[in-house]
Every structure is written in structure tokens, then in C-alpha cells.
Symmetry: C2
């Protein structure tokens, strides 16, 4: 079951400049950064609020690391803007198979690694009224070391 807006993915040409825009304009701070070579992106997660399912909602700023990545091609065609939206679920495997069974194209055979150790998959935008839609299960919170 999808229980939150997990993030809004925003494609940009220059990650550092875009991070600085969000900091200077709204006061949003970087929560996490990483490079995902498989996705071909360098990204920054800005945490905006916590959510009633125990998770959080983020902006995910994405700069392509290579022009032939999915985000690189999208950016060349569309320019900067909202690239995808993501819903959080406790069980991306079950939910994505259930959604596949309803005739919506799921882009991966199995969920792959997303930001911060999450597991993710994407739904085809043509099956979702034009919206590239990601499903995310966050990594389990590490038990504190006592």
C-alpha cells in the first residue's frame, strides 16, 4: 500500500547551483547526497517534512553524470523541471507486482537500488497519465548500537 509522497524528482543541469537555489530561496538544507552510477545521476535529497507513516517527504535534485543516462536524455529534451514523482510503500515488491497485474508497465523486472539504500521501481509514464511514477521502500532504520 502506498502511504506517502516520498519525493519529487527534479532534473537540473548543475546540482550545486540548484541546491544553492533551494537553500537561499526557501532555507531547505541537504539531508543526503550520493552518486548512483546505475541510474547515471548525482543527487541531493532535501528533507521537507516527516509523514504520518513514519517516513518523510524529500525533494530529490538530479544532475546526470552522463548525457546518455535516462535523466540526461530527458533533460536534453525537456530542460530543467519535475522528472518524476515517488510514492513510499512498506513493500515495493508486492505493490509493484500487484500494479503490473493491473496492466501498468513496471520498468524493472525486480526493484533496484535507489537513494539512501532504498529499493525502487518505476511505472511507465504512458500508463500513468503522463507521470513517470516511482515506488520506493526505504532502507530499514539501523538499530542503534548499545
Amino acid at each position: 500500500m502506498l502511504t506517502r509522497i516520498d519525493h519529487i524528482g527534479i532534473a537540473c543541469h548543475d546540482l550545486d547551483a540548484t541546491v544553492e537555489f533551494y537553500r537561499a530561496t526557501y532555507g531547505f538544507e541537504v539531508f543526503h547526497t550520493e552518486v548512483n552510477e546505475e541510474q547515471g545521476v548525482r543527487e541531493a535529497m532535501l528533507k521537507i517534512n516527516e509523514t504520518s507513516d513514519g517516513g518523510a517527504s524529500y525533494l530529490q535534485l538530479l544532475e546526470p553524470t552522463r548525457e546518455d543516462s535516462a535523466v540526461g536524455k530527458w533533460l536534453a529534451k525537456n530542460g530543467e523541471g519535475v522528472h518524476h514523482i515517488a510514492f513510499g510503500t512498506a513493500d515495493v515488491d508486492t505493490d509493484s507486482e500487484e500494479i503490473r497485474g493491473k496492466g501498468v508497465r513496471v520498468l524493472y523486472d525486480e526493484p533496484r537500488r535507489g537513494s539512501m539504500g532504498s529499493r525502487i521501481t518505476f511505472l511507465h509514464p504512458k500508463d500513468c497519465h503522463g507521470v513517470l511514477t516511482e515506488l520506493v521502500t526505504s532502507a530499514p532504520v539501523e538499530p542503534s548500537e548499545h
Copy 2:
């Protein structure tokens, strides 16, 4: 101060069909519908989660009521997809003036009426790395009648 992702605004050709897609695919239910003649849209709000600032995050599905509305023109150019993102604040007047003072173009002189009695304004997408950005202050919750 912006304290939540208030909603993601999604433009569509057929509101009823899009509402049905979100219900059948994800189980999201309609929380509220209205027509905003000033904005030239018929809309449905789907509540996804509550947020740590006491508000909530929604999907806002938007069908233009006339082709020459902002959403109608956008849809004719871009097709269905994410039209804007909105951040929630307790004080849209102060925040929008502060942001205007930083050189970001604010599209209205004064906030106008948005969904569910909220007050809203928009920031120019060219000043926001390609993202049409709305600021929202929700209507005060009506006291219960006892």
C-alpha cells in the same frame, strides 16, 4: 517558512478518468473536488498522507475548464503530466514577499484563493530551475460545533 510538500499538481485531459486511474491503481480516494473559475480548472484533491507540521500532502488533479486557461495552454503544449509543485506555509503573505525580495518573480501581487479555501501564489518557473512552484496557506480548520 515552508514546512511541507502540500501537493503535486497534475494536469489531465479527463478528470474522471484520471481519478479512476489513481483509485484503481493505487487505492487513492478523492478527498475534495471543486471548480476554480478564476484558475479555469476543475480539480480533485487526493490526500496521500499527513505531515509533521499538522497539514497533509495531496495529489491535485487538474482538468482545464477552458482551452485558454493557464492549465489548458500548458496541456496543449506539454500533454498530461506534472504541472506544478506546492509547498505549505503558515504565512504565504510574508514568505512570498520575502522570496520576491530575493529576486524571484512572484506571479500575483497578492495571494489568491486556491483549493479548499486556501490562499496561494506562484513563483515563475524560469526563476526556479524550471519548476512552477506554488506557495499555499491552508484555510484555518473550522472549530467543531458543540
